[in-house]
């Protein structure tokens, strides 16, 4: 396990069932997040961009287990957290499927345990396989023991800043209750004085003053409310913060303030951000790396510079061409995508982007493009990467 990877998401899937009829039979699945894998290094900011309805928020919520994912592995800080929030029975089933069955099947296929370990593609699962083959029973047992303790640890380590600062604060609670609640629940403080000192400290750090403590949320502006939301998450001393469109509900001038605040807090607390946004300017400002999502899948994942310099996926190219250019002399060539985003209930065959892709060929509707590394640190899911030029 590399030490600098904080979050690793493997094949995350979240389907929402569509139910109808008297017996509420499931007639279809909304494939909100469909096989998403990426990793986030400690201390970096990863931007997750895509248009409305592409599953960015669902992905963020599933990672924090505010929705229970349909499938997939979420590894935080070197620990598989995927089964933490499942019931005992389901957690056992998950571990059996994820580890026991998988490893046993691979063992039959590759004949030796070392070969299995060698053929696993990521560090975490290699280590898991090693532990598993040493003592299968004890391995599962140990994982189950960690479940309840892991839950509260996960809830402390991973936090979220929400899009709408108006509905994310309980209108009946004072600021000190909203901010202090997390510390109290997670037992970070021993008594009231300590809690008060902690709240004061955090409020100052996010740019609010101590006399805001006993006010109610409705007495604040949008930007200030978002600061309260940040303080609420920050008091737990988290490692990962998922910012779900954290600035899109704010004025542009306030947006800059909040982004700068997030930036300085990141340096101070060594935070890792997963920054979900639809505004490319915001993403460009704050991210180190960017993942582009389309219809529940990540289509391109690379560093910010590479993405803005040399986008490879046609969808990314089209997105980039939509950024307004302030220079009137330089008339940019816009790539206008035709049609609407297809329904995630019934996504297109082959490459999900092919019905709208300007360079789509016949093969695109048949073959699903693999999400693979084309250049160093530049992953793309396209059969013809880089063929669409600006």
């Amino acid at each position: 396990m590399q030490n600098n990877t904080l979050l690793k998401v493997n094949n995350l899937v979240k389907y929402f069932p569509v139910k109808a009829g008297v017996f509420r039979k499931t007639i279809a699945q909304v494939k909100a997040v469909d096989d998403v894998s990426f990793e986030v290094k400690k201390g970096e900011t990863v931007g997750l961009v895509g248009e409305s309805g592409c599953g960015k928020t669902t992905a963020g919520m599933s990672i924090l287990r505010l929705y229970e994912p349909t499938a997939g592995q979420i590894i935080l800080d070197g620990k598989d957290t995927s089964y933490y929030f499942l019931s005992r029975r389901k957690a056992k089933k998950f571990l059996k499927k994820q580890y026991t069955e998988k490893f046993e099947k691979m063992k039959q296929k590759y004949s030796s345990e070392d070969q299995v370990i060698k053929n696993l593609n990521d560090e975490f699962n290699k280590q898991a396989a090693k532990d598993y083959f040493e003592n299968p029973h004890k391995f599962i047992e140990k994982m189950m023991d960690m479940r309840i303790k892991g839950r509260s640890e996960f809830r402390r380590k991973a936090q979220m800043i929400f899009q709408d600062p108006y509905s994310s604060l309980n209108p009946r609670h004072r600021v000190k209750t909203i901010v202090g609640e997390g510390a109290k629940i997670n037992e970070l403080v021993e008594n009231k004085d300590e809690l008060k000192a902690m709240i004061e400290d955090i409020l100052k750090k996010v740019g609010l003053s101590v006399d805001h403590m006993s006010r109610f949320p409705h007495e604040f502006s949008g930007g200030q409310r978002q600061r309260i939301g940040i303080a609420r998450a920050l008091i737990l001393k988290p490692e990962l913060i998922v910012c779900d469109e954290a600035v899109s509900a704010l004025d542009v001038s306030i947006q800059a303030q909040i982004l700068n605040l997030l930036n300085s807090l990141q340096k101070e607390f060594n935070l890792t951000f997963l920054f979900i946004a639809h505004d490319l300017a915001v993403v460009k400002h704050i991210s180190d790396r960017v993942a582009v999502m389309y219809l529940g899948k990540i289509v391109e994942y690379t560093t910010k510079d590479q993405l803005f310099e040399k986008p490879l996926h046609p969808y990314t190219v089209a997105l980039m061409s939509a950024i307004p250019n302030p220079d009137p002399e330089n008339k940019s060539h816009r790539i206008i995508l035709e049609g609407d985003v297809p329904s995630p209930i019934n996504p297109p065959s082959g490459c999900p982007f092919h019905p709208r892709c300007p360079i789509a060929k016949d093969v695109c509707s048949k073959e699903v493009p693999q999400f693979k590394e084309i250049e160093e640190g530049h992953k793309v899911a396209c059969l013809f990467p880089g063929k669409l030029k600006r």
Binding site: M61, L64, L66, R151, S152, R155, R156, Q159, M160, F162, Q163, D164, S167, S168, L169, N170, P171, R172, H173, E181, G182, I185, N186, F216, G229, R232, A233, L236
Partner: protein, 278 residues
């Protein structure tokens, strides 16, 4: 919060009808709390000199077939009726709030099971349910409270469940979960405080109908056992003398109507002021 309260007070008192009905209701509350202060006679003493005497300066509301002063009986009856109805509603509202918020917050299978059970209670005629309980356990004040309370549990559960579901959509519930708050605590500190306005409104409106339920049980002879007066029983007892001595029935009936009407208008006023749409 205090500014919110002031705003609410100003809005509520703007309507003169609200003020009048609140005052009437407060007057009846005072009567219920201090009946001995208001009643001119003992409600149980029979006066052999005046059977069924019409309203006069001595007996403002007349006397009944045993010569008991109707005004005094009404005053003590108001105490009984208000006590039974309010206790029943307190019982029903607490139970209904717990059931409704749990059902609405958890949703899914839990919600389905609870709500089908509530549906079954709704399907049962409420007065018959109360009759059944009283017939089974006897007509004591405690059983009356439980019987009437049970009638109102499904009503509260439904209302509270509906608003719990809408409160649940708010991001602050998600954010409470994201800091590791337990479900029971989310219901207590995030859901229930935010449904208080709906709670107040349904409390008052159901309170008035609970008074009517109590009166109907009394009318059917299943209220507080005689000779202790309740408004419903007085109406029922006077029924036989409706033509010869209408005042025996008229005055208790009138008082029931005035109390229920005033509570209803106060309830409507509360709803109008607490409704965020206005």
């Amino acid at each position: 919060m205090s500014s919110e309260y002031r705003k609410f007070k100003r809005k509520f008192l703007k309507n003169p009808l609200n003020i009048i009905c609140s005052l009437i209701f407060i007057f009846f509350l005072l009567v219920a709390f201090f009946p001995s202060f208001f009643a001119p006679y003992n409600p149980l003493t029979m006066d052999p000199d005046s059977f069924m005497s019409p309203p006069s300066s001595q007996h403002w509301f007349g006397t009944d077939q045993f010569g008991r002063d109707i005004l005094s009986r009404i005053i003590y009856g108001v105490q009984g009726s208000l006590f039974i109805a309010s206790m029943a509603i307190v019982f029903a509202s607490i139970a209904g709030t717990i059931i409704g918020s749990v059902s609405g917050y958890f949703g899914g299978a839990v919600d389905n099971i609870i709500m089908r059970f509530i549906d079954a209670m709704f399907a049962f005629p409420s007065i018959i349910l109360a009759l059944f309980i009283i017939a089974l356990f006897g007509a004591t004040i405690r059983n009356l409270i439980i019987a009437i309370g049970i009638i109102y549990i499904p009503i509260f559960s439904r209302t509270i469940r509906g608003s719990a579901i809408s409160i649940k959509q708010n991001l602050y519930i998600v954010s409470a979960r994201s800091i590791g708050k337990k479900s029971s605590k989310i219901i207590l500190t995030d859901i229930i405080p935010n449904i208080s306005s709906i709670f107040i409104v349904s409390f008052t409106t159901n309170f008035s109908t609970a008074i009517l339920s109590e009166a109907s049980l009394g009318f059917l002879g299943l209220g507080v056992p005689p000779p202790y007066p309740t408004l419903g029983r007085m109406v029922g007892d006077g029924n036989n003398f409706l033509l010869s001595a209408p005042w025996i029935t008229l005055f208790p009936g009138l008082i029931i109507a005035v109390i229920v009407l005033s509570i209803n208008i106060v309830g409507d006023g509360l709803r109008d002021t607490l409704d965020p749409k206005n």
